[in-house]
């Protein structure tokens, strides 16, 4: 466990001591700000049909941020160490593969959550200066961040996997972006499918990330969504671990 903390600290410092980390945070703050400006402009003085958090999740900004940030955050995790050679010093230290994977993923997730904190400021402004007094409701904000956290875990864990199989950051980013976009397309497809009691339609609805987020932003925590995201996250992390271990397999 101590090794995990040592590794986590080092991974976090790599995010927060580099310019890239702050560029990402600034870019995301800009995008969330822009999306709120647009949402408020579109609404004018009309009464809001739904809480602003829910509208934000429905806007393409939210998905753009998730889809773009996950590859950028995770691409360096393994690929950079491999291309710079530090992977060799890291893996020849007495560390377990599991500790390395867990620390890298946790650091990415922590950075991702920190990256979303400026959203609170946007919510505060909306709550303070519009008639949306529910914008800062604990349930709504909590549900919103739970949604952000779950979707983040899902895309970041795939990003870890992509970084673990790649030798360069660019390839890692490409792979995880391709995954994110196809996942997005799948969700879109699932959303537009006719709802029925059929098992296939039920299965497809698992991939309907739009409805998952919508529910969470209303403060409704659906276990199906929870199970879906957590299962996928652990699946991708498990695969990442196997990839990392495979180096030591005998050929």
């Amino acid at each position: 466990m101590r090794i995990f903390w040592v590794l986590l600290r080092r991974e976090l410092s790599a995010y927060f001591l580099s310019l890239t980390g702050y560029v990402i945070i600034a870019a995301i703050a800009f995008l969330t700000g822009a999306s709120f400006v647009q949402l408020i402009n579109a609404q004018g003085n009309d009464p809001w049909p739904m809480p602003v958090a829910q509208m934000f999740f429905g806007s393409f900004y939210f998905w753009m941020i998730v889809l773009l940030s996950a590859p950028v955050i995770t691409m360096r995790l393994f690929a950079l160490e491999k291309s710079s050679g530090t992977y060799e010093t890291l893996m020849t230290a007495p560390v377990d593969d599991l500790q390395v994977v867990a620390a890298k993923f946790t650091a990415a997730l922590v950075f991702y959550v920190v990256m979303w904190l400026p959203l609170l400021a946007s919510l505060f402004l909306v709550g303070r200066f519009t008639n949306q007094s529910a914008a800062l409701d604990y349930g709504v904000v909590g549900g919103m961040y739970l949604g952000i956290f779950l979707a983040g875990g899902f895309f970041l864990s795939f990003g870890c996997l992509a970084s673990a199989v790649s030798r360069t950051q660019m390839v890692a980013a490409m792979i995880s972006l391709a995954f994110g976009v196809s996942q997005f397309a799948l969700a879109w497809w699932a959303k537009n499918m006719a709802v029925s009691e059929d098992w296939r339609s039920q299965l497809w609805s698992c991939f309907n990330m739009f409805d998952h987020m919508n529910d969470l932003a209303r403060g409704a925590v659906d276990t199906r969504a929870l199970v879906f995201y957590l299962t996928m996250t652990f699946l991708f992390l498990f695969l990442t671990l196997r990839i990392v271990e495979s180096r030591r397999w005998k050929s």
Partner: protein, 315 residues
Amino acid sequence: MIEISNLTKRYAGRTAVDDISFHVARGEIVGLLGPNGAGKSTTMRVLSGFLPATSGTVRVAGFDVFHDSKEARRRVGYMPENNPLYPEMRVREYLKFRARLKGLGRRQSRERVSIVMDQCGLADVSKRVIGQLSKGYRQRVGLADALVHDPELIILDEPTIGLDPHQIRAVRALIKSLGGRHTVLISTHILPEVEMMCGRVLIMFNGRVLAQDTPENLQHRMAGGSQVIAEIAAPADALNAAWETFGEIEHFDVTATDGAFFRCALTPRNGCDLRPLVFSLVREKGWTLRELTRSRHTLEDIYVQVTKPRTEEPE
């Protein structure tokens, strides 16, 4: 300390290390000498537990590097080729991170970091960012990292590459001081380096260990066949005639240099030392001798010598 038996490592179709076996005793400083692509780095990567062997067993301090990988890695300080570091970290911070990663406690790691920073001459750059350090300092950071957990075995892959002569000397002195307490395995393709530091040399070529001996013995074995250069002021035909009469000289070559001096390159017939012979000839004839040297063996000569039987066999 190191027991390697029948180690083979193949990468997709290419054999990097081909059935090598050797032992290194505790406290020895051993040099792996060979040209690029000889399999030195691959051997070290297997030893450090980074790559699995295709076949054969490798033990470090009694632990199999494959089955007891973590225990073996605990006892090894490894500096890979090109000395990779995290450029955004500061020197002390990096060494502390490495010490903690290698299982040292908080207090212990602080003590050890201070010790290795003194040992490697890093005290005055402890707060500097690694990415901004000169190559020499970075190399020392890599060395300090290898030493920080006081490992029984230290593996250094080309520790002096890219350093200036002054830094090379400092690094050599440091490595030499590690002998006895630690076991050290270094790789290099510079012959004088192993002569200076190592108690034993393994010559690798094409994935095989071709020779292993002390540097002195190796030098001795190589001394046979080495050319002697003499610059003598004498008439050219007298020189030619004199060399003709000696049965020990297989081949000679006399060329004019400045003034009355001639440069004679003499190759001995059966590995004897020609220098006394040249000296007594010059004294007898009353000539002037300006230079008398036996050409030093370059690594190339040694490869040629060591690989000779193998390369001539097919013909």
